[in-house]
């Protein structure tokens, strides 16, 4: 697999305060994004996700480190010709209409007029803004801005798309649509690099993830490898049984309305519980084996740091 984006030992600090003091934000970021995958960049607020992406795009200059995009130097126009970028909380020229805005950006790629017209129509319908093409962006809602931002990121049919919190500020329906578009991009052979702290979204669509905490990537790999398939515990909700009959099998949590929530940590004991329920003619309302989720991994790692 070819490498779409490689970041090596990236350091960045900002001067802050009245008497400038260096504040280290990134302390040696290593990333390797392969072509054709959806790569999730995951981290708590303030970890340095946006800062990393800004370095990659040449918006800010790192103190140290190497970045390569699709085999080109990251600051070269060849690299920029083939990337698309959606910033977090996007905001654009509010005096332009949606189609004027897309036209402006398309011109920066040197596309000819006919091509541009076709692109604009296609993209506006992709993000379902075809009815708003003549509305000034100042009148756009938060979700519409996110969509037009998505459209501008795809204006050059990029090979690598960098998305900073692409699902932020969207309602559930909007998120699903954007998620579908992201998956479709991958199916069309594009590489997607997206940052998020919404774990469910990443879990659903990402092939590989990197976890960044306090300016360092502390884990990177395939989701399946990072999260064990091991069952952590089984949650059983049951009724019609006395609490004392279940002693020693697991942890009895809530017990109201005659229902008991039982957490069984030992997989082998689950059958024992079921037998007891049958014996006492009790009722099972639900039985859920809980495997490790990205959230568990995430919380575990962040708190460990």
């Amino acid at each position: 697999m070819a490498i779409a984006l490689e970041v090596k030992d990236l350091h960045k600090s900002f001067k802050t305060g009245f008497i400038p003091k260096r504040k280290k934000i990134l302390e040696g970021i290593f990333l390797k994004v392969e072509e054709g995958e959806i790569f999730g960049y995951l981290g708590p607020n303030g970890a340095g996700k946006t800062t990393t992406i800004k370095c990659i795009l040449g918006l800010i200059f790192p103190d140290k480190g190497e970045i390569e995009i699709l085999g080109h130097d990251y600051l070269s126009l060849q690299a920029k010709q083939r990337i698309g970028f959606l910033p977090e909380n996007p905001y654009f020229y509010d005096y332009l209409t949606a189609s004027e805005f897309l036209r402006f950006y398309a011109q920066l790629f040197g596309l000819d007029k006919k091509e541009i017209d076709k692109k604009i129509t296609g993209l506006l319908s992709l993000v379902r803004l075809e009815d708003s093409s003549d509305i000034q962006l100042r009148k756009f809602s938060r979700g519409m801005l996110q969509r037009i931002g998505f459209a501008q990121a795809l204006i050059n049919d990029p090979s690598l798309v960098l998305l900073d919190e692409p699902l932020g500020g969207l309602d559930p329906l909007g998120r699903k649509e954007i998620r579908d578009i992201i998956v479709r991009l991958r199916d069309n052979g594009k590489t997607v690099f997206l940052s998020s702290h919404i774990l469910q979204d990443i879990e659903m669509i990402c092939d590989r993830v990197a976890i960044i905490v306090q300016g360092q990537v502390i884990n990177q790999g395939k989701l399946q490898d990072l999260i064990s398939e091991k069952i952590l515990f089984t949650e059983i909700i049951l009724s019609g049984i006395e609490k004392k009959d279940l002693e020693g099998l697991g942890e009895c949590l809530a017990a109201d309305g005659g229902r008991i929530l039982l957490k069984v940590f030992d997989e082998k004991k689950v059958n024992g519980v079921l037998e007891i329920i049958q014996e006492h003619k009790g009722k099972i309302h639900s039985l859920i084996p809980r495997t490790e989720t990205l959230e568990d991994l995430f919380v575990g790692m962040v708190t460990k740091q």
Binding site: L57, L59, I60, Q78, I83, P87, P90, F104, L108
Partner: protein
């Protein structure tokens, strides 16, 4: 091509800015007011209209250049529109040049409008179109180009309010520095004079672009002044633009 795309967008931004029309309105009022002034004063009516008219065009043109120019780059950074723009295949210097050209084009249109109002008013008095006025206006245009470059330069690293103050200071110093030159001529040779001369060379001299008196009073202007002023304007503008590019080249957009 990319520069023109940015220039076109800048033009759209400026032309949709209300402040531009406010200034244009006041400029028109001032040009019109010159007629009232002419009626009230003893002297050559037409000369007063020309004097006040050209002065209004120059002043309001400068205000347009400063008030819009200082916001242009700053707003892009402040509102983060520059994030997506700079991640497109465009060099930072192309961005700045586009901004500059877009505003210069806007100012050109504004000068055109003000000139039409001015020449129309003159026509009501003299029944001729005084094309000679356009020479003075051409040099006002060169001055505005320089002021635009200066406004953009300041806005590369400071807020619009600070940049406006700096730019207005530049404008004032530029128009007063010739007084400094006369002062120098009266000084005795020495360290003081040498320092003064160095300072004078560094300071802008915007009076180089002022041909108003000569034009209004039909005084002859030697060609060498035209040539000198044109070159002065072009090179000073280029110098300030290059300085802006150097400042802009390595700055972080945060």
């Amino acid at each position: 091509m990319k520069i023109l795309a940015v220039a076109n967008n800048t033009f759209k931004e400026a032309i949709r800015d209300r402040i531009l029309y406010l200034l244009l309105f006041f400029a028109a009022v001032c040009i019109g007011f010159s007629r009232v002034l002419a009626l009230l004063t003893v002297g050559d009516e037409v000369k007063i209209i020309k004097d006040v008219g050209l002065a209004s065009i120059s002043l309001f043109g400068a205000l347009m250049a400063i008030l819009i120019g200082t916001g242009l780059v700053y707003k892009e950074i402040d509102k983060k529109t520059i994030y997506t723009l700079i991640s497109k295949p465009i060099h930072r210097y192309q961005f700045l040049l586009g901004k500059f050209l877009g505003l210069v084009f806007t100012l050109f249109i504004m000068l055109l409008l003000m000139s039409i109002i001015f020449l129309a008013l003159l026509f009501l008095h003299t029944y001729t179109i005084e094309w000679a006025m356009l020479v003075a206006i051409f040099f006002i245009f060169l001055e505005l180009c320089l002021i635009t470059a200066v406004a953009i330069f300041f806005s590369c690293f400071s807020s619009p309010i600070l940049s406006s103050i700096f730019s207005i200071a530049f404008y004032l110093i530029g128009h007063l520095s010739w007084g400094f030159e006369t002062l120098l001529q009266k000084m005795k040779p020495g360290v003081g004079k040498t320092l003064g001369q160095i300072l004078y060379t560094v300071l802008p001299d915007l009076e180089n672009f002022n041909f108003k008196t000569e034009i209004v009073h039909h005084l002859p202007i030697p060609t060498k002044f035209f040539v000198y002023s044109s070159f002065y304007g072009i090179f000073y503008t280029l110098f300030v633009l290059i300085l802006s590019m150097l400042v802009f080249r390595k700055r972080d957009f945060i």
